[in-house]
Amino acid sequence: MRGPMATVTEEQAPPQKWVGQSVKPRESYRLIQGKGKFLDDIKLPNMLYAAILRSPYAHAKIVSIDTSKASALPGVISIITGEDVEKATKPFMGVVPPPGDKVIDYCLAVGKTRYAGEPVAAVAATERSIAEDAIDLIEVEYDPLPVVVDVEKAMNKDSTLVQDAVGSNIVWHKQFNYGDYEKAASHADTIVKEKLHFHRFGAAPMETDNVLADYQESTGLLTINCNNQMPMFCLALIVLATGWDSHKIRIITNDIGGGFGAKIISYTYMVLISLLSKKSGRPVKWIMERRANIISGTHANEATFYVDIALKKNGTILGINAKTIHDEGAYLRYEPIGALLWVQVSSGPYRFKNLRMDVNSVVTNKGPVAPIRGYGRMQHLWMIERIIEIAAKQLKIDPLEIRMKNFITSEEMPYVTPSGATYDSGDYPQALEKALEMIGYPEWKKKQSEYRKHGKLIGIGIGTGIDSGTNNFAQVKLISKENPFSGQSRMAFARMDEFGRFQVAVASNPHGQSHETVVSQVVADELGVKPDDVFVLPGMDSFSHPFTGHSGSYASQFAVSGIEAVLGASRKLKKKIIEIAAFKLGATPEDIILKDGKAIVQDSDKSLEFWMIANMAWRNNLELPPDMEPGLMELYCWKGPFKLPDEKERLNPTLTYSYQTHVAVVEIDPETGKLQILKYVAVDDCGTQLNPQVVEGQVHGAAMNGIAASIFEECKYDDSGQLLSSTFMDYLFPTAVEIPHFQTCHLTSPSPFTTLGTKGAGEGGGTPLITISSAIEDALAPFGIKITDSHTTPERIYNLIKKSKKVKGN
């Protein structure tokens, strides 16, 4: 069950352990006073402001760009267009093998535009309003080209090409065979086939993607202030495209107003604004408008599935065979990794062994997709849960029974899936039972049949999602063996200052996950102090925070990779503190414990206060052990215990596998299709919780994101490639009125693979999408309606009911 939820203050008697306590986030103190430091809060002397001109066409040749009128506007300092970008940079690197490696992606459109909203030119001016005025004065002549927005039409040989050099819109295709689906199908009693569609929606963090670049010609130093959530990984993409001196690039993030994965792909803007700063010789700040945020991509992976499921009569699943078509939009920013990440959760929470995945990554004239919360896994998990429910109905098996029959049990953990993922721990049946108990399943079932007699539609939906976390980059070698990434790592330092207080830094680019607080709790336990004695460097500065090429916040992993790095550094520091104390006190290190800011020789009255130890290390080093290096600052780099893919292309793609089970009760008005969530329960298990209140917050957020996507939000394009939901006017971002209260419960299956039993969490596996689809289908059961699209608005429900009535009428 969920741990003690009352917050803990340090004035109270300190608990035995700070880990596991809901310590009030220290970050909140500045944020509730409006004293956070977000990118737009920064002003530098002599700073310019940028604005970006975007293409009105989804696909068009750029015939000419005339910037003369804009240049003449007083206050305009510099303008760059695709021509400048083509001269100054190479296209960004991708991860696809030939011919998909010929996808061309620059920070501004070069030669042609490939989606409506693509950046075409950028202006730096002395004021933001002047930069925006200047944008209106740039004259671009476009020659519109045929547009392709339907992903299946894009696969046709005669389709217009989005990326001409590739020679096809299918930029990556590969068939994966785990187990033997053909054989499994030959033993099946039934094969159920369905076409399913997982829709496109946005991440929409409240703070958009912003950049403040400051190039100093005198030193060659380029400082990029940004809110990218994985900038030290992106630095590789930036340096490879620009050829800039990597050792003279400084990247800084401060408070970040949400990310949800979308902010990973802001590296194109980091290059664009840096180019403006270099050209202007002055710092340049760019603040993305909301409309730009929605139209310029950062959408979740849109996928179409042609899926077959092979089953025994009794509901035992033998295998799944799916052709998946991922609509990547116009560019591959971090793609097609999203089309691959099903390998993390290949059989979902189920035991079947045979899986064939025919994966197609296709470009269209839409905004590029991005690694959004639940990235790549939620699409696959939704597909599995959907086809299982549809099959269960066909076999007339209860949806609970089919799940219970096929769930991997806790006794089977750690469990190796067909694709080699090693599920570390968990109890899916228990989570479902708990969720059903909390919702009051039998009572709702009874009410449902009573209500149906009166024409009232109630549906109960269930779903289990796996939140695989701490990724092994070697998974990208399944796309191409040549890809120069593998493993996972994090680096941290722990320092005892000259007065015996502690500083810790880890480059995690947090944006709402309370990393400063959680790190202080972990370090306090290790070093026998209070969290307040541990200052965790806020934000990230690549010149002060130790980082690796894997640093950042993504792939549900701080509680694993970040904390392992911090633990490693703290334990090295602890060892040295103890060695100094032992030397000074004439004791053996084994007898010394650290407690209440002192090194204490157990079973004696001998002790040494931390400040005295610190003083020896930092300014009285002749009293140190003679062979000891002075100072008390330890650096540790954690390496994920991973392997490369084996000869059958199996690998463990993440280290931990948190999971959530949700149950929802919905009511649908049959006259209007209006949907109301009557009750919502979320059971989560991410192993040991470092700070239960922070974990619960993540559960709430993931629940809301998924509900928002399933019944409200959609990035819908018309045939000409215009996004029809490009502002908050029509992109239905739900408020507190639409979102229900969530009842939560935490189970604890500690991970055997991490020091504290923690697992990464936060993405939630897209569980609400599974659950809401299931609930709607259950509510509409009297009409025999199947839910085959992840987006189910009242309008769609209304049309489904109308269509089914028509069928019945016939």
Binding site: I32, G258, E696, H700, M704, F733, A736
Partner: protein, 158 residues
């Protein structure tokens, strides 16, 4: 465009600055007066990140021109804590984890302060309707509602 002088009272202090006729109040607060606690999250008046109290009423400061604020009395998030002591709504947001990234938080807190002034003891439904104009992407609103409820209790017991 020509700039004009604007005088107003913010957080109990007389302030003045210059702005173009087209400058929105939120930009005037942030860029001219340096009060960066009020945030911007959209271009269309939906998200509520920029909510302030103007002449006693909650206002989205991106929906008001700076010159319209001439002579008004404004409270922003920076003016809520008094003499170094947090406002009970701020305390409650902190205690109940009513925020994560904190970007929408100033707007949420300002809306909550207006709600509790009109309705010191709101039901859950009334709280949800009271913050309908404030988007949050992190919390699912659960802990925001909880925070406002807790603040109401705290303020009533005083």
């Amino acid at each position: 465009m020509e700039k004009k002088k604007i005088k107003l009272t913010i957080n109990g202090e007389q302030m003045e600055g210059e702005a173009e006729p087209r400058t929105l109040l939120v930009y005037f607060l942030r860029d001219v007066l340096g009060l960066t606690g009020t945030h911007i999250g959209c271009d269309t008046g939906h998200c509520g990140c920029c909510t302030i109290i103007m002449n006693g009423v909650s206002v989205k400061s991106c929906m008001v021109f700076a010159f319209q604020a001439e002579g008004t009395t404004i409270t922003t998030i920076e003016g809520l804590a008094q003499n170094g002591k947090l406002h009970p709504i701020q305390e409650s947001f902190w205690e109940n984890h009513g925020l994560q990234c904190g970007y929408c938080t100033p707007g949420q807190i300002m809306s909550a302060s207006f709600l509790l002034k009109r309705n010191p003891n709101p039901t859950e439904d009334e709280i949800r309707r009271g913050i309908e104009g404030n988007y949050c992407r992190c919390t699912g609103y659960v802990n925001i509602v909880k925070s406002i409820k807790a603040a109401a209790e705290k303020m009533q017991s005083k």
